[in-house]
């Protein structure tokens, strides 16, 4: 039964790969080089099969890229690659199950802020040799902050993602709203949208769910705040600093000022996206990977010039700090085909496929020249600009516990919004809790 299933998948994958290799060859100019190396190392892994986890929805662009990458790898090495898609909100649960049951993939895509956590659970294999040589040596070292732990690198940056404000360009046009240059203008724009489009519309959606810190972080960092700083080998919480508080109050004011409804304090970006697609949100902080989903949810009504991005403005003009998000590719710690897995990562994160991954997937390439080229494109410029000054969350395996499981800041915001505590009280408590979580062994 199981063998039959595996055989069936293998046959399908192979058939798919053959078909794609055939049509891919015609349009991709890079194909000859791959073919050349194939003759050298062709049968290297023939008969072996890799499992590769891709994260997110398998939208057509991502699917096409993955198929092409897999076809190229199969052609080069003879190994088969089985691709499985895992939606973002399920990633941690799926990784947990895989690490507990020993049924992990060989290679996986992984969010860069998840690397410390899964490294601490010994779920990733060290791959320092990959980033030390070849194309990967060109990746700027400051992009490897979350991936490098105790001198070893556990994942290769694949594409960067900084967030910007996605807005309803058609509504802005209807209501003659200019693109906000300061925070106050953004608030005014949001209020105007609610006035004209209905009270149940969120002018600017509050994110209080699992990825709330992307929004809160942007606001707090822009105000000059930090979550926590490592002093010696201890994390010291900085949530009570006035700068952080400024950003935090800006964040809670989204609800207390009525820009976003009090009934959705726990919504995450995926939920906001669905509401956006249903004409219930005017603006929210996200990145272009949401666009295919919006197209699908709105049944093709929301796309093209009906929506656009602008960089999140700082309180008194200028661009806000953004979260240095990004997706990495890593070798699973218990990979059955370790060598083949490493070669796959090498190919995927190399300049050719790495840049293609980013550009096809609406992300920013991690290779400097490609990024510089992208900044010339007006549609991508907001992201490139934000990426250049992006910041990251505390690089600690326990950050996920504070960020998602205990939802420390989300809870503090809820207390303030519901009037159960002042910002100072809530942040004071959150600060102690954050320190305790980050400093636990």
């Amino acid at each position: 039964m199981r063998i039959a299933k595996i055989t069936a998948t293998t046959v399908t994958t192979a058939a798919l790969a053959l078909g794609l290799a055939a049509c891919g060859g015609a349009e991709a100019p890079a194909e000859p080089s791959a073919a050349a190396s194939a003759s050298a190392s062709g049968p290297k892994y023939s008969g072996k099969e890799l499992t590769f986890w891709r994260l997110g929805d398998s939208n057509p662009a991502a699917q096409k890229y993955t198929d092409e990458l897999v076809a190229a790898f199969e052609q080069q090495t003879g190994a088969k690659v089985k691709v499985e898609w895992i939606p973002w909100p399920q990633v941690n649960d799926k990784f947990t199950a895989a690490a507990a049951g020993g049924t992990g993939p060989d290679v996986t895509e992984i969010g860069n802020d998840q690397v410390p956590l899964w490294q601490s659970q010994e779920a990733l294999a060290p791959i320092s040799d990959i980033v030390a040589a070849g194309d990967q040596a060109q990746i700027p070292k400051n992009l490897l902050g979350l991936e490098t732990i105790d001198g070893e690198t556990y994942a290769v940056p694949w594409g960067g993602g900084s967030r910007a404000v996605l807005y309803r360009a058609d509504w802005f046009k209807d209501l003659k709203i200019e693109i906000p240059k300061t925070w106050d203008e953004l608030v005014a724009a949001a209020k105007k949208i609610q006035e004209k489009k209905g009270k149940d519309v969120d002018g600017f959606a509050f994110n209080g769910g699992s990825d709330a810190n992307h929004l809160l972080g942007s606001l707090a960092w822009t105000a000059g705040g930090e979550y926590a700083v490592k002093e010696g080998d201890k994390w010291v919480g900085k949530l009570t600093d006035p700068a952080f508080k400024t950003g935090f109050e800006q964040y809670t004011a989204l609800v207390t000022d009525g820009l976003s409804s009090k009934s959705r304090l726990g919504q995450n970006t995926t939920e906001i996206r669905t509401r956006f697609a249903n004409n219930k949100v005017g603006m929210y902080l996200t990145a272009s990977w949401d666009l295919p989903g919006i197209d699908e949810d709105s049944k093709g009504k929301l796309k093209g010039d009906k929506l656009a991005f602008f960089p999140l403005p700082a309180k008194d003009g200028g661009e806000a700090q953004s979260f240095l998000g990004g997706n990495d590719i890593a070798v699973w710690g218990t990979a059955k085909e370790m060598d083949a897995a490493k070669d796959f990562v090498k190919l995927a994160s190399g300049k050719e496929w790495g840049v293609k991954y980013a550009t096809d997937g609406g992300l920013l390439p991690v290779y400097p020249e490609a990024l510089a080229k992208l900044a010339e494109d007006p549609a991508q410029a907001p992201f490139a600009a934000a990426f250049a000054k992006a910041k990251a969350f505390p690089a600690d395996p326990n950050w996920t516990e504070a960020n998602e499981t205990k939802a420390v800041l989300q809870n503090a915001a809820r207390q303030v919004i519901e009037g159960k505590a002042t910002a100072d009280e809530a942040l004071g408590k959150a600060n102690t809790e954050l320190e305790n979580i980050l400093n636990q062994s």
Binding site: T96, A99, G101, L117, S263, A407, E418
Partner: protein, 338 residues
């Protein structure tokens, strides 16, 4: 009588006891007679041992260990580290534990009381109804009892949805003066019922009571059928009121039924999980955690801390055992007094 049983259990005695058919050889299996009941128990014990006792012992051990993914994975597993009572002191220091404990207790008290009251009332009603009507009502309420916990959660989550829920719609249909009089407000558009801890628990209580009262009602009905009608006739002749009849006849005679139903309800309501999980959409609002949810969040949300999760589960089990033991003792005492 004593004589026979001793001899039967004596094992070595080949003389057949009164129950045994004389024709049958005493040692067909080559085993002593006394061992047969135990032998027959073995399969059952093995199943219980493997499925219940072993995991329970395992949880108890884990509560004193630090257990994460590296300790449970099948490939190069690490030995778990003994941490003594660290897991316990950690959870007792955490305010989430105390709010979860409060939520668990308050919820259990309210839900058990309401379930029993509503269930008994419906049971008494069923007893009064004619045969057809009573069958109809039983079939009707049994549908609620048959709904699986996750589906219960989904049904009530939809009803109480802030934007598309029928509850807000219905409340908005009330005349404004009535709504203002009763609730102090007229506009219910977008009222977020599943946001605050208290309103989540209100919905949870409704969900749990809705799904569990039919069982109580039918059990009470079964008990009522066993009470001789003469007692009620006598009460009627003496001119006792309905309430007095219930208190003096029905309740005392149904005491054993109520005892079992209460213990069962306490056990069910203490560990309610699925409905809360669905209503809240996973462990999101930590102020609304109960102990089961807190244990789940600690053990399985990343980074998984199965030791603390097990410690919370252990605390929950101990509380449950104590509450049940105290209650059963109380009942036995009352039984002795009457």
């Amino acid at each position: 009588m004593t004589d026979t049983s001793t001899r039967t259990r004596g094992g070595g005695n080949p003389s057949p006891s009164g129950r045994r058919r004389p024709g049958r050889p005493a040692k067909a299996s080559g085993l002593p007679v006394w061992s047969i009941p135990y032998l027959l128990l073995i399969p059952g014990l093995l199943v219980i041992g493997a499925l219940l006792l072993y995991p329970m012992v395992q949880v108890a051990i884990m509560a004193f260990q630090k257990v994460g993914l590296p300790q449970i994975r099948p490939v190069n597993k690490r030995p778990p580290e003994w941490v003594g009572t660290d897991n316990f002191s950690q959870i007792f220091d955490n305010e989430i534990f105390w709010s979860a404990l409060r939520n668990t207790l308050v919820f259990a008290v309210l839900a058990v009381t309401l379930t029993l009251v509503v269930g008994t009332a419906v049971g008494v009603l069923l007893n009064k109804l004619g045969k057809k009507m009573s069958t109809l009502v039983i079939v009707g309420i049994m549908f609620a009892w048959a709904v699986p916990p996750v589906a219960q959660g989904i049904i009530w989550k939809w009803l109480f949805d802030a934007e598309a829920g029928i509850i807000n719609w219905a409340l908005n249909l009330l005349p404004d003066w009535l709504s203002t009089l009763v609730f102090g407000r007229a506009d219910w558009t977008g009222e977020p019922w599943l946001n605050d801890a208290w309103s989540i628990y209100m919905v949870l209580i409704i969900t749990v009571v809705w799904a569990s009262f039919p069982f109580i009602a039918v059990s009470v009905l079964a008990g009522l059928k066993g009470i001789p009608a003469e007692l009620y006739e006598a009460a009627r002749v003496d001119g006792a009121s309905a309430w007095r009849t219930f208190r003096k006849i029905t309740f005392p005679l149904l005491r054993p039924v109520f005892a079992v139903l209460t213990v069962l309800s306490i056990i069910w309501d203490f560990k309610v999980f699925s409905q809360l999980y669905v209503l809240m959409g996973g462990p999101t609002n930590r102020e609304a955690f109960n102990l089961s949810m807190y244990s789940y969040a600690e053990a399985f949300r990343s980074p998984p801390k199965m030791g603390s999760g097990a410690a919370i589960a252990l605390v929950l089990t101990v509380i449950l055992l104590v509450v049940t033991a105290v209650y059963v003792r109380q009942l036995v005492k009352q039984e002795d007094m009457t």
